[in-house]
Amino acid sequence: MTISFKQIEEKLKTEAKRLLESGQASVVLAYGKGYDEKHPMPYVARNPSDVANIVFNEYCNYNMARYLVRYPAGTKIAVAVKAADSRAVIQLIQEEKVKREDLVLLGIPVYGMKNPKTQEIIDGKTTGGLYNPVLYDILLGDEVHGQAIQSPYDVLAAYELMDKEARFAFWKKEFDKCIRCYACRKACPMCYCDPCFIDQNKPKWGDKSPQSHGNLMYHLTRFHHLAGRCIDCGECSRACPVDIPLYLFHKKVAKECEEMFGQAAGMSIEDKPALVNFRVDDSDKILE
């Protein structure tokens, strides 16, 4: 099967219009035109007339769940969600940042999403191995089947095999590139802290200047804060102007968390975030 992006776009428009007209949603978080076709933008439709601006194509990578916390509690929001995006919504519901009843989830089953910079297909890197939304109210298209569902963790293999010296050298080089623009945390649907720990003066966790140690502190702590919460949308890496493959580290932590705690982030509304939870019979082996 092939994905008709045009078809999804049409359905997105139809549903957005219907929801706005009926008042079921006061805002629709979707995708709109950017300065060219390869650069669409996150788009918020507030009126039925806005719907005409909605687009959907293979470059609409944005995780629109990121914008949910921007709206006051109780706002009826319809949000377009691809596979990973829906997990972000679930995770936000778990964390009580949004309420399920305030949301209409417009599920988008899709594969073949591309990085506009490299034209590379990025599904395997950052969809958590999923093509269909985990949770939705309306599915805009047919479920994707038959695509090779790879383990979301396959891409890690090469890095796991590296010896620790090489791995350290790899990450040091990557983190040293960081200019601390914080696009990663701002693009992340789960990074809703304001202020972020790294911005604090008291306690001061890391220096503001983009030097190795402050960068390391910022990124490692951020990985920790997202442990058991990262839903593998890859927005952090995509947002990064200097191409730090943050998603790899997040994925590794997600993998470890899934193995240790038997739960992947954003898969069920009923779950409790793994790091603010415990089981009495958690094994001490996880500390080895």
Partner: protein
């Protein structure tokens, strides 16, 4: 820009031997913000304390670092020094260079270097300390005593006599505990019942004591001064408010259960009081042995009861009790010696454990005080084996402390009641106590045979069926002995109650390696625990004899009294608080707090912490992603600074 005073203690030679204290003080003087640094022989002594007071005044010090023993030892002492000098007590930092430096090394170079690093950490931390105000709370004047043995009874009576209301919780249907099972007590050989039962009765009669038998603590909430404890009243199937203790029911009862009181040596009725002097004198029904509960009909007791007190429908109920302090006196169990198959307990009828023998001696016991074997015959020779499972690296390393003495007592009683030969198999004889050595000498005189060697094995006699053979190495002669006897008495290890760990968890106590409750300090605070307001007395802390147990009960009562005698008390100010400006509203704190102290204010979109419920563990602070939670006295920046100081040199 603090003004820090550093005071280095020699602790005699305890510290000075492996830390160059004057060098340490000189080092301190070079550190930024340290205004004065001194060393002194005993900082905790009055002149030492006065030195600190004077320096605070003279040098306008605003932070004090005492470099001495563990904070668990003298933090309070020095906090008082600060308070007396008008400084907030939380501006004190203790550097532990005794327990964690001088006592754990012989190398003065290493010791001095480590002490410097620790001190530097303290200076870094000290700069960031802020004055904290203690919370003042109302104190509930009541006390709960858990365990109705001699320790619990004594503590309850003492407290009740001061006018405080006491809840005495006992899981059995009578109070009295192990002591009520004994016949005589060493070394005076006075009758256990004679000295105990008046106290039991006094408890029953005391207007300030609420006796809660057949009860167990099921939940503990709150904190010192304000415990909120849920007690499970187990169903007795007899309404004690109606029962007039005529015991007509017990006569009619056809049911047969095994008497726990008599250490399973005999049977008892299904509706019963454990022993004639039980307090209360009111029966309970044992569901397991009751014919009605087993077969659905009988109800003979019900018919016999004029008071209509029998209630087969009775359920467990839960009672809420509010108290200001708690004394735990939950006592002990004897180690189950069945797993030590070499001693044949449970296999050979001639092998008894110590408590069984106590019952045999007791005139209210299964044999009416006669010493007979299970077949009714009188033993001709008896071996008493000391240290079964205790002082034994494979089982319990500790000495059970009373076995030597009660074993000697047994020997005496055997001699008094039978004509048997009595042999002691012992590792060595421990008779430290008032009149104990004298008692030992007296027993030696009584023609009791002492074999210095631990009983290694008890076997069936090959030559004489029905008799037993005790095998041991006589360590004096070096000979291997096989001694045929009729009766073997094991003196097993005294161990914590089977449910001691559960109780520890309920009350937030630590237990030691053996499972006995941990005291706050082995010497200076043997009755307090790490949980404020929870005290311990008797064998639940460690094996001990009756005089020590009673002494501890008095002590624990006094300790509890120091809390409940006050209307109000100060609590540690080291609670957590939320900086609303940094709170991101993730509610992690709300999710993790074991005490429900944080709550989410949906309107302000920030968490708030109820400091009355906060116990200061700091969990919330570490799960707070935006560092909005300030764990007072252990704030992120204080810990980070201390780490920086520790790692500098």
């Amino acid at each position: 820009m603090s003004r820090i005073g550093v005071f280095v203690c020699h602790c005699g030679l305890n510290i000075a031997k492996t830390v160059r204290v004057s060098e340490l003080a000189e080092f301190a003087a070079t550190l930024p913000d340290v205004v004065v640094a001194k060393d002194y022989k005993f900082m905790c002594s009055t002149p030492g304390q006065e030195m600190i007071v004077n320096d605070i005044k003279q040098h306008k010090l605003d932070r004090i670092i005492v470099t001495a023993c563990s904070p668990l030892m003298h933090e309070q002492t020095f906090r008082k020094v600060l308070t007396a000098s008008g400084l907030n007590q939380y501006l004190l930092t203790i550097v532990n260079i005794r327990e964690q430096v001088s006592w754990v090394t012989h190398d003065i170079e290493e010791g001095t270097a480590k002490a410097k690093a620790l001190l530097n950490g303290a200076v870094y931390r000290s700069r960031l300390l802020v004055p904290l105000t203690s919370r003042v709370i109302d104190v509930n004047p009541n006390v709960m005593v858990v365990g109705g043995g001699i320790a619990g009874i004594q503590a309850a009576l003492e407290l009740a006599n001061t006018g405080k209301k006491v809840y005495l919780v006992e899981k059995n249907s009578t109070i009295g505990g192990h002591m009520a099972q004994f016949d005589k007590t060493f070394p005076t050989l006075d009758c256990s019942a004679c000295i105990l039962t008046p106290k039991m009765d006094a408890v029953l009669q005391h207007k300030n004591i609420t006796m809660m038998t057949s009860c167990e603590v099921s939940e503990v909430k709150g904190f010192v001064g304000n415990f909120d404890i849920t007690v499970r009243q187990k169903a007795r199937y007899v309404d004690h408010s109606k029962c007039n203790a005529c015991l007509a029911c017990t006569e009619k009862c056809p049911g047969k259960g095994i008497s726990e009181w008599d250490e399973s040596l005999v049977k008892r009725k299904a509706i019963y009081i454990p022993f004639p002097q039980a307090v209360p004198q009111k029966p309970i029904i044992d569901k397991e042995s009751c014919t009605f509960f087993k077969k659905g009909k009988c109800r003979l007791c019900e018919k016999a009861c004029e008071q209509k007190a029998i209630d087969f429908e009775q359920q467990d109920t839960f009672v809420q009790v509010k108290v200001g302090a708690v004394i735990l006196a939950t006592g002990f169990d004897l180690m189950d010696t069945k797993p030590l198959v070499q001693y044949g307990y449970g296999k050979y009828p001639g092998v008894y454990n110590a408590l069984e023998v106590e019952r045999l001696f007791n005139s209210a016991g299964p044999t009416g005080g006669k010493v007979t074997l299970r077949d009714g015959s009188e033993p001709k020779s008896i071996a008493i084996l000391h240290c079964i499972g205790s002082r034994d690296k494979n089982n319990h390393e500790h000495c059970s402390r009373v076995c030597c003495m009660y074993s000697l007592k047994f020997a005496h009683l055997f001699k008094e009641k039978t004509s048997a030969d009595v042999y002691h198999f012992y590792i060595d004889m421990r008779a430290a106590g008032k009149g104990y050595e004298e008692f030992y000498n007296r027993i030696i005189e009584e023609d009791v045979k002492f074999i210095r060697g631990k009983g290694a094995r008890v076997a069936q006699s090959a030559d004489e069926p029905g008799r037993l053979v005790v095998e041991a190495e006589d360590t004096i002669t070096g000979k291997f002995i096989k001694l045929p006897v009729d009766m073997v008495v094991l003196s097993p290890a005294i161990v914590p109650r089977a449910d001691a760990r559960d109780i520890a968890r309920l009350f937030n106590l630590s237990t030691d390696k053996q499972g006995f409750f941990m005291e706050r300090h082995p010497k200076l605070a043997p009755l307090s625990t790490m949980s404020e307001g929870i005290f311990i007395a008797g064998v639940c802390q460690s094996p001990k004899d009756i005089p020590d147990t009673v002494a501890q009960a008095y002590g624990a009562a006094a300790e509890a009294l120091t809390i409940v005698v006050r209307d109000k008390m100060e609590l540690e100010a080291t609670t957590a608080m939320v900086n609303p400006a940094s709170c991101c509203g993730c509610q992690n704190c709300v999710r993790v707090c074991p005490y429900g102290a944080p709550s989410y204010n949906a309107e302000k979109k920030v968490s708030e912490i109820n400091e009355a419920l906060c116990k200061g563990c700091g969990l919330c602070a570490s799960v707070c992603p935006s560092s909005a939670i300030i764990a007072r006295h252990f704030t992120n920046d204080q810990v980070l600074a201390e780490m920086e100081g520790l790692m500098e040199f």
